[in-house]
Amino acid sequence: MNALSALAIAGGPAGPVGDYGGRWVGAKEIRLLDTSLPALYRIDRATLATSVQPLSGADAPLDPYGMALPGDGTVWTLADKGRFVFRFSEATGERVEKRRLPEPCQGIATFWNHAGLFAVRLRPNERMLLRAENGALRPFSPLSSRSAPGLAEILIANLLRCGSGTKAAIPCWFVAGDPEVLLVDRIGIIRPIAVPSFALPSPARGVSREPGVAFTYPIRDAFLIDGQAIWTLTNQEGDRTPLENGARRGRHVTLVRGRRSERTLELPAEARAILDATERSLVVLFADGTVRRIHVP
């Protein structure tokens, strides 16, 4: 815990977010998981006034793999590298349940009234999106794992993330690969949306044996405004993959409507996530841990 974080917990102003672990967007409030404390930042959507709610009772490190608030009065997070689900009381922040998962997972997000868990996959054509039912994990979408030439490539090719959705759909994407957002609807059906990319193939592709250079990493976050409009935040920009020295990341957001890119904004610094969005403004978490509203000119 750093000094700023301690200040925030003591009731002072919220300091920069430490280790961003995921977010949830409600009608009036954004909740943001900081796994380094651990705590929830509770941000008023209108004013960006922030309070910090500590999470207590975690006896294993929380994973920065997302969070879910499925409406059962608890906040779900993953812990111990995806082995466990912890549930914390929304009211008090105290842990109310620790559950070992039947299989380790790499992510978690709110899918309306349930928590969606993202499986870790070593083989192609296996279901990726699961939900807990009667002590088992059951798939709820045909979204499936992809193939790749080697084990390391398979692990990279099947890194999956999901962003903020609407009543109708949740945007998900594979971290490595084509610039494409997959809109998952309430019955799990997927609709792909092509989005702009600033990522270029690495010049070492086909030469280097480092598995990461076989891919590009175009998308860092996505925020669906309605059925047609989605903001995306870039991940890799240029030809250096995120692991390479000098990599440029998270410097542009683009509004895509239907099949068209309507607007692209350059951000003043590297961004980590889109916390809120309309067509006229965005609330952005920057890589330095600050939260700022960006107005669309």
Partner: protein, 73 residues
Amino acid sequence: MTLTRFASARLLVPTLAVTAGLAAAAPAQGAGCIQFYAECLVRASDLDTWWQRSAAGIDCYLDTVACLRRAYT
């Protein structure tokens, strides 16, 4: 342990040599997670029993997923 975990362990152990070779040939700047994975599996392979090796292998694998997620997302 579930069937899924068994399957993971069975896949991991035979890939040891391949992954170690792959990481050894990789450039230093981008190979952090995979290099770690290879070294972790080498350490796991030195353990005494099949159960210990399998459990340690799964730890290596989940550590690597965590490393990759942190690096690329």
